[in-house]
């Protein structure tokens, strides 16, 4: 009896470190500020929260099809992928180093694996500052090399890190992935269940799920939740190069979209998809 073919590996079943290793060319993974450096958050233990020795972010250099790359992966299982002072600084610092390399003519392909609720509430303003630095670094970097974001799930990508995804040159999503400024539970808590029932999974995914985001041009590629598919899509995104105009630079296009809507209309996912069907928008 022959051994069964290797089962397909679901990307979402992997930890941030495993995702990073799976994404990079075999054997090229080299972690920076790894767990043994114990650069953990100083703010959690005093608040009674067990820290993680990598503060929930993996930064690794490696190669994608032989090209130099840096992967920043948020561990969604640790504190919901919340960005704190240290984890945010690891991401911002890595992006700033990639910018310096690019300015010196040695481009490094940056990939962000985003599983994050956004800010880590225990670190409030320090996390916000770090996320602002991440935003600034992505905008500076993307004029040199495409910045690729991946929202695979299961956490999704929310808050200030959803803005980070919006600033990326290419956003890759799975059907399981969700991308939105406020998460459904936050919307329900703040605006009431009549506004959004966060338990209504169909409604949630029809609104902010990967399929909808790609169909309405808020993300670029919809891929299967499978290691090979995502690794391939990341390489394809770099091969494609930067978009002609970045999504976040198309202010008039998106203002026109908003102007064409009546906020009193109760739009659902399919109606929004018809209204905002991706027209390419110069990308």
């Amino acid at each position: 009896m022959t051994a069964p073919a290797l089962a397909r590996t679901r990307f979402t079943e992997l930890s941030a470190r495993e995702r990073t290793i799976a994404l990079l060319d075999p054997g090229s993974f080299r972690e920076l500020i790894g767990p043994f450096e114990r650069l953990e958050s100083p703010h959690l233990e005093p608040q009674g929260v067990v820290p993680a020795c990598d503060d929930g972010v993996v930064v690794a250099r490696g190669e994608l099809d032989g090209e130099r790359a840096v992967v920043l992966a948020v561990e969604g299982l640790f504190q919901g992928g919340g960005i704190g002072e240290v984890s945010g600084a690891k991401m911002a610092g890595a992006l700033e180093l990639a910018l310096r390399d690019a300015e010196r003519g040695h481009p490094v392909y940056p990939v962000l694996l985003l599983e994050t609720g956004g800010i880590r509430l225990q670190e409030a303003n320090l996390g916000l500052l770090a996320i602002a630095e991440i935003h600034a670094a992505i905008v500076a970097l993307r004029s040199h090399v495409p910045v690729v974001g991946v929202v695979a799930g299961m956490v999704g990508c929310f808050g200030g890190m959803a803005i980070a995804a919006g600033l990326c040159s290419h956003v890759i999503m799975t059907r399981e992935g969700r991308l939105g400024l406020n998460g459904p539970q936050v919307i329900e808590q703040e605006a009431g269940v009549a506004e959004l029932d966060s338990e209504d999974r169909r409604l949630v995914w029809e609104t902010i799920g990967g399929e909808q985001r790609v169909a309405t041009g808020m993300a670029d590629a919809l891929v299967e939740d499978e290691v090979g598919a995502i690794a391939g899509a990341v390489r394809t995104a770099f091969d494609a190069g930067p978009p002609v105009v970045h999504r976040s630079s198309q202010v008039e296009r998106y203002e026109a979209r908003l102007a064409g809507m009546d906020p009193l209309d109760q739009l659902d996912g399919p109606a929004l998809r018809a209204l905002w069907r991706d027209d390419g928008g110069g990308r």
Binding site: P35, F36, V49, V50, P51, A52, C53, E75, L77
Partner: protein, 97 residues
């Protein structure tokens, strides 16, 4: 959150350091590094207070079976004793690769 420490006599140094697991609900991370003396030193930080006796039982059992002169740091997010034992075994396996 509670911090617990344990020490065991040991003679075999670990050949390479290891890191396994994630500080996610019901799971833990284990860092295993070489100890500079003939001891195993374990520091546990756990989100679940009041389980010191169970940690002691799990670690007593593990270090009775494994002679490891190692510094072990555990960051725990409410893992069951079974999960703790599996992660410790996984860390030892990694350190012997």
């Amino acid at each position: 959150m509670e911090t617990l420490t344990f020490d065991y006599p040991a003679s075999q140094p670990v050949s390479r350091r290891a890191h396994v697991g994630v500080v996610g609900s019901g799971d833990l991370e284990v860092l295993l590094e070489r100890s500079l003396d003939q001891q195993a030193h374990i520091t546990v930080r756990t989100s679940a207070d009041g389980f010191g006796e169970i940690w002691e039982a799990v670690l007593d059992r593990f270090f009775a079976r494994n002679d490891l002169a190692a510094v072990v740091r555990i960051n725990d997010s409410g893992a069951t004793p079974g999960t703790v034992a599996l992660r410790l075994a996984q860390a030892v396996e990694e350190s012997q690769l």
